[in-house]
Symmetry: C2
Subunit: 289 residues, 2 copies
């Protein structure tokens, strides 16, 4: 049920993005934009669609912010993979954009994907009322910028430049920005579209985001590159502080499970209707537990 629903959402997001990019001029940068958005699980897009469904917002509207967040997420991966950043050759089992094309194409494709994200959340078709409302764009800009995702990346970079490993509070703050901000925005999107209080979704997303990062750190130690479709063991290899290095493997796994339980509990106002979101939370740590 959940697995099918996740695959269906990823296909819907991919098809919509494909249609949008087909309206662009045929250029390597545009081709790279499509390439970078394909092949992922579209978890963030799924959270948008599910939180919209919970609030009775039709998928025809929710698909716009769902594609927006996938475009922004894809931009962040393309830039993260650059030689001057994480210098990764492999992403989702395929060459990264700067390896398949070149660095300039990767910089521009990432830049254009970020702009595309803001174009999609500003589109009146996001809203059942057809209004041109900026609250999605405003919240996304805050989540993506130097007080959200980029702040997390900047903290990460600053930490790598010193020899003092981060402590648990610091790494939690870092991850709340780096991966947490977009996940929170995605989960809240449905409430925002329906103009209702997002509090239960915020509580859900914050726990989910943290569990997600802990799971990622576990996979960096236990995962295998072929299965992950990207390099593993990089953090541990560099002596970088992670949830696993700070908590130990067993405690990290336990903490991830606790967070998922808390995330599921936070959805109690939605009762059984939020089962897909609960399944998404369990899915996030399933590969690492």
């Amino acid at each position: 049920m959940f697995a099918q629903s996740l695959v269906g959402a990823a296909a819907a997001v991919a098809a919509h993005l494909e249609t949008l990019l087909a309206e662009h001029q045929a250029l390597p940068v545009v081709e790279a934009m499509g390439y970078a958005t394909r092949g992922g699980k579209a978890l963030r897009g799924y959270l948008v669609l599910e939180s919209a469904r919970l609030h009775g917002v039709p998928e025809g509207h929710a698909i716009w912010p769902a594609c927006a967040i996938e475009a922004v997420h894809a931009y962040s991966l393309v830039h993260d993979d650059l030689p001057c950043m994480d210098d990764d050759d492999l992403r989702r089992g395929l060459p990264t954009v700067h390896r398949k094309w070149d660095e300039a194409t990767a910089v521009l494709a990432g830049d254009a994907l970020q702009a595309l994200g803001f174009e999609l959340v500003s589109d009146p078709r996001c809203h059942p009322s057809g209004e041109v409302r900026a609250d999605l764009a405003l919240s996304l800009a805050r989540a993506a910028g130097a007080r959200g995702m980029v702040m997390g990346q900047a903290l990460d970079m600053a930490a790598e430049a010193t020899d003092v490993p981060l402590d648990l509070a610091q790494i939690t703050a870092l991850q709340a920005g780096k991966t947490g901000a977009l996940i929170r925005w995605s989960a809240e999107a449905g409430a925002r579209l329906a103009e209702v209080d997002p509090a239960p979704l915020t509580a859900y997303a914050d726990r989910l985001g943290l569990a997600f990062q802990i799971a990622d750190d576990i996979l960096d130690v236990e995962g295998d590159a072929a299965m992950m479709g990207k390099a593993v063991g990089k953090d541990a290899g560099r002596g970088k502080a992670t949830f696993v290095s700070l908590l130990g493997l067993d405690t990290a796994k336990l903490r991830a499970r606790q967070l998922v339980d808390e995330a599921c509990d936070a959805l109690s106002p939605y009762a059984d209707r939020a089962e897909n979101l609960r399944a998404a939370a369990r899915f996030v740590i399933s590969r690492s537990n």
Copy 2:
């Protein structure tokens, strides 16, 4: 009168951006964001403020989109200067961001400046009504993305990869994206804020944008690096097609002057109230004629 007004606008934009960035965490990326937005003429921000003034929109509102366009323009310069793009060491007479910090900081600062731009145009304080309206964000996303500025950059990159120089129609299309799209957005912003037809401003901006690029090509041949605060002679040195290489120096100067006259004429519905915008158009080519 105009010169004073331009300097005043640049100071107002700089002060507002300074205040906004002071609310961010003190990090090298945030410092680089401030650095990248300082020291320019703020021509695009000036166009926003002037077109707003023409429509009776108070500066307290117009300052938001004025800062937004300067943030987006600054992002484009930071990324353009990267080693994998134009590889420039000097900008506005100072080291470029990747030279003063490093490439990773430049990528992230550019990314965050783009997000900041979208945050500012989505802010309800843009609008005298206090409404959360997305039309500024939507139009800016289209101007900045793969159908606007990035398209122009991508066409430029594609042209450099071939040995066939662009013709006049191609270079005009390229520049309409690369520099024209943000200039058009800036000039139209006041009409958009006042919810009136931007047609005269569009006509003005399209001619201004083209004149601006022709002037830039002239300065690349005739300018001197110390006066310009950046490298010159790069395009000519690479045998790249420019308006000067295609038209010759004298015809290029004549065409720039004609375009400025046309730009000024397009503002006739505003009569004398648009004198500052006309002066801005004359200013754009003044250094090259």
